[in-house]
């Protein structure tokens, strides 16, 4: 697994660029990751990203889009507006987590 420099520090990532060690993440890094994919994080974005982090810590897996809506309380439509095209993957990337595995 490559080590790369993001936000001025070394982080472990996989071949696609997703962090492989969620503990290397903090909110400053999240901001830098979001900027790399053209997203400027506002309060609504943070609500989703923080839910991902909390849910991952509790469940040990990245929540699917449906879970962010049902358990995180953020409507699906809003997620598509905040993280256009591929919300589940973009959120996971910014939150420093693996891509979600669930189908739905």
């Amino acid at each position: 697994m490559p080590v790369t420099t993001i936000d001025g520090r070394p982080v472990h990532v996989n071949e696609e660029g997703f962090l492989t060690d969620p503990s290397e993440w903090d909110e400053a890094l999240g901001k830098a990751l979001a900027a790399q994919i053209g997203i400027d994080l506002g309060d609504e974005h943070w609500k989703a990203i923080r839910f991902l982090r909390e849910d991952f810590a509790a469940k040990g897996e990245t929540p699917t889009l449906r879970r962010v809506t049902v358990a995180g309380g953020i409507p699906t439509k809003a997620l598509f507006q905040l993280f256009p095209q591929k919300p589940a993957k973009k959120m996971a990337y910014i939150a420093g987590l693996p891509k979600p595995h669930g189908c739905v």
Binding site: G8, K77, F80, Y93, V104
Partner: protein, 171 residues
């Protein structure tokens, strides 16, 4: 470790040129619970990947968008050797009900929504739902009878026109 050892930054290609403008058309023609899910799951997955997705409900697929039936699709082991049950059992009274309940339970355990809620999620994700004109006429159904998010009752040729250049799935 110093920054001298690190690889160049890798950024995922979320919006590659190849995926831009990709379209998927899914024709849902079955009205049993087990055959309703594949189309919905694939539509949901495609939308999550940023693919423009259109679903066309035709023949028995109307069960999925008819307000009266959409929450009450059934599953029968009859004619389905993959259940590994003796086929004679499938015809006994109550077996369809029992098999349906069991399938519903396994789907719910995976946190996969029931059909009406699944359609709602697909629409919220930007999916388009279309009803087949001939099926509506055959069953004497109008837009009033259909799930409100269905965008319209259209002919087969309208659907083909709308999905020009799309990849197509017939289920």
């Amino acid at each position: 470790m110093t920054s001298m050892d690190t690889a160049p930054t890798i950024v995922p290609t979320f919006d590659s040129d190849a995926s831009q403008g990709r379209k998927l058309a899914i024709i849902c023609s079955k009205g049993s619970l087990d055959m309703a899910y594949p189309g919905l799951i694939l539509a949901n997955a495609a939308l999550g990947e940023g693919v423009e997705t259109h679903l066309f409900f035709t023949f028995w697929g109307f069960e999925m968008i008819n307000k009266k039936t959409m929450g009450d699709l059934k599953f029968t082991p009859l004619g389905n050797p993959a259940t590994h049950m003796p086929q004679g059992l499938g015809g006994l009274p109550g077996v369809t009900h029992m098999a349906t309940e069991r399938l519903r339970k396994s789907i719910a355990e995976l946190d996969v929504p029931e059909i009406p809620e699944f359609l709602e999620q697909i629409v919220a994700s930007g999916g388009h739902l279309w009803a087949c004109r001939m099926s509506a006429d055959m069953n004497h159904l109008t837009e009033e009878d259909l799930y409100e998010e269905v965008e319209g009752i259209i002919s087969a040729s309208d659907f083909i026109e709308k999905t020009e250049g799309a990849q197509l799935l017939f289920i």
